[in-house]
């Protein structure tokens, strides 16, 4: 069903999209954080996490995502999520992630909003 997380990154015009596939747990979260911090180091201040390939996230994964959001707030960057399953979207709302990061149903809408901000 779901193996460990696989990541890919698409850099485009000052924005970077991180695509995930698999379980966002401790290992998966660390992978995302590593990738996000690399992108920040490269100067990207607007990141989009496309979770179309992810059906499951646990509390450790969420805590790591919150750390990434905090880091983005510190540098006054922007982070958004798109293509979440209904369950993950509801979880993000309950956990407060939606307060600090935009959640969009599709990638085009998320990119448009990140570019506008």
């Amino acid at each position: 069903m779901t193996e460990t997380l696989r990541l890919s990154v698409d850099r485009r015009d000052g924005l970077a999209v991180i695509y995930t596939e698999g379980y966002i747990n401790n290992q998966g979260g660390e992978e995302i954080a590593r990738s996000a911090y690399e992108l920040l180091g490269e100067g990207y201040k607007a990141l989009l996490l496309n979770l179309a390939g992810t059906k499951i996230v646990n509390s450790i994964g969420i805590s790591i995502l919150i750390e990434i959001i905090e880091k983005m707030l510190e540098i006054e960057g922007r982070l958004a999520f798109c293509c979440l399953t209904p369950t993950i979207e509801k979880t993000f709302h309950i956990m407060g992630l939606a307060q600090y990061a935009g959640i969009y149903s599709d990638e085009a809408a998320a990119l448009a909003e990140l570019r506008r901000a």
Binding site: N25, N26, I56, N58, I60, S63, T87, I94, M95, G96
Partner: protein, 516 residues
């Protein structure tokens, strides 16, 4: 935290520091700026401020060459350390040691405390929120009971929810199918594909190869096992470990919810399967009904009628009327051993074979021998067919017949005499190389021929007595001059009355031929 190497001597940016006070997520940046200000004031090029954290003293701000992220093995060599409330300031002085108390250090300590309080608040908020997620998970599985009847979708929802809810690194769901637990989903790695039910307890530890800490709960309905929900390796930021007792209770609660949902889905699937089979049976019944004559043939000087009622939707009885060369008429009644779909399929085979062979072979021993061979080759070893096949020459009033193990047909004479059409060989499909004998008889005006299946004569009374050939003959004798449809109705009524309305035990068939 990013350091400002080489900027330690830059003057403090007080306006920026002031702006950071109270800013959302600004605590760490405030600490960083205050540390930079302190370093600038004291001309310190390398410093790090550590705060009490989950992993010990964790670096919260740094200037210059980075000190380690966590002070796990004591304070760094060649560095001074100043204890501040809630942490420690480590630095490499470039001049004389600074005083232990000074305004910027007080500000640093205050910001450190604010950071610690913020972290505590965030942890508590996180835990409270996550309780909400747990409740939501249980609620959603409850909802799934009512909304998801697809077994595979439901199994996935249950597994995803259980694994994420318990912060498990891995998980698997097994459902009991024919005394075996069969894998229906796995997360985080491979799992054993199936195991015998009696092995479940002993094999727990081996279900997820490579996992260290397993927690397994049985999914049961009214005490009967239906599946296994397995999670493994509880995650934390430091790695994996065993599941605490609270998780055992949570998973048990989850399994109870899942059991009801899975049982609903299983029953739904069973109902769909039953519905599908019923549709197929209806279709089979319709196809079989088309094999029977739609109406009896018109033959001058003779009245002809046929009737069939299967005990189930499809049956193993068969009758047919066939127009043969020179105005002759073929009549046949057959009965396949057994009932239901298997019998119906063989009826279909027989129907086709009789029609095809009669084009080439006339009614007689050779035809029956050929049919016997055909049925032997195309049916199961324990299946056979009794068949009475007759050919009427209407001009001469002569009936030629072969009886392959079928119930003896009855010929009621106008004078009330009764003659039977006895066996002329074994049933079809019983033995290879069977031989058959044909007989002939004359039909006079008023003679009534009755071919029937044993479902008519062997229908039982509540006292287990058979309606019998005598019972059938009695009704025929009383009604033989009526229109044949009424004769059939009379036989049906008499047999039904005899059985006192008990369910029909076998297929029933009647073929009547009267010379008028």
């Amino acid at each position: 935290m990013a350091s400002k190497s080489g900027s330690a001597l830059a003057p403090p940016a007080w306006d920026e520091i002031l702006a950071l006070v109270g800013r959302e997520a600004g605590e760490r940046l405030l600490l960083q700026r205050l540390l930079e200000a302190w370093c600038a004031q004291r001309e310190v090029a390398e410093a790090a401020l550590y705060a009490d954290g989950e992993r010990g003293l964790e670096r919260a701000a740094a200037v210059g060459v980075a000190f380690p992220e966590v002070l796990a093995g004591g304070r760094p060599a060649n560095a001074l350390a100043l204890d501040v409330p809630g942490g420690v300031l480590v630095f490499r002085p470039s001049g004389p040691p600074p005083p232990a108390v000074e305004p910027l250090l007080v500000l640093l300590a205050s910001a450190l405390r604010q950071l610690r309080l913020e972290r505590q608040l965030k942890r508590q908020r996180f835990q409270v929120n996550y309780r909400g997620v747990e409740l939501e998970a249980l609620y959603e599985v409850g909802l799934a009971i009512a909304s998801t009847l697809n077994l595979e979708e439901l199994a996935e929802v249950i597994l995803l929810r259980a694994v994420s809810l318990l912060d498990a690194r891995r998980g698997a769901l097994y459902l009991l199918e024919k005394e075996r637990y069969v894998l229906h989903g796995t997360i985080g790695g491979d799992a054993v594909a199936a195991l015998a039910a009696f092995e479940a307890q002993a094999a727990d530890a081996a279900l997820l190869p490579g996992a260290t800490h397993l927690l397994t709960v049985s999914i049961t309905i009214e005490g009967q096992p239906r599946g296994l929900l397995v999670v493994a390796d509880k995650e934390s930021r430091d790695g994996v470990g065993p599941f605490p007792l609270a998780d055992h209770r949570t998973l048990g609660l989850f399994a109870n919810q899942a059991a009801i949902a899975l049982e609903n889905a299983r029953l739904h699937r069973a109902a769909l399967e039953k519905e599908r089979l019923e549709r197929e049976m209806e279709l089979a019944a319709e196809i079989q009904s088309r094999l029977l004559p739609k109406q009896a043939p018109m033959l001058e000087g003779f009245a002809i009628a046929g009737w069939n009622r299967p005990a189930r939707q499809v049956g193993g009885d068969y009758y047919d009327f066939l127009h043969l060369a020179d105005g002759r008429l073929g009549l046949t009644v057959g009965d396949v051993s057994g009932k239901g779909v298997a019998a119906a399929l063989l009826v279909s085979t027989l129907h086709s074979a009789v029609r095809l062979l009669l084009d080439r072979i006339e009614v007689g021993p050779a035809l029956l021998a050929r049919l016997n061979q055909h049925i032997l080759e195309s049916s199961a070893p324990n299946k056979f067919i009794t068949l009475l096949l007759a050919e009427l020459d209407p001009a001469a009033g002569v009936l030629r017949y072969v009886n392959a193990g079928h119930n003896p047909g009855l010929l009621l004479g106008r004078d009330g005499s009764l003659r039977t059409l006895g066996p002329g060989g074994l049933p079809l499909g019983l033995l290879p190389g069977s031989t058959y004998r044909s007989e002939t008889l004359s039909m006079e005006r008023g003679d009534l021929l009755c071919l029937y299946s044993d479902g008519v004569t062997e229908c039982l009374s509540p006292a287990d007595e058979e309606f019998s050939i005598e019972g059938l003959a009695r009704v025929l004798l009383q009604t033989r001059e009526l229109p044949l449809e009424e004769v059939i109705e009379a036989v049906d009524r008499a047999a039904t009355d005899f059985s006192c309305g008990q369910p029909q035990g076998d297929d029933q068939t009647l073929v009547l031929l009267r010379r008028d």
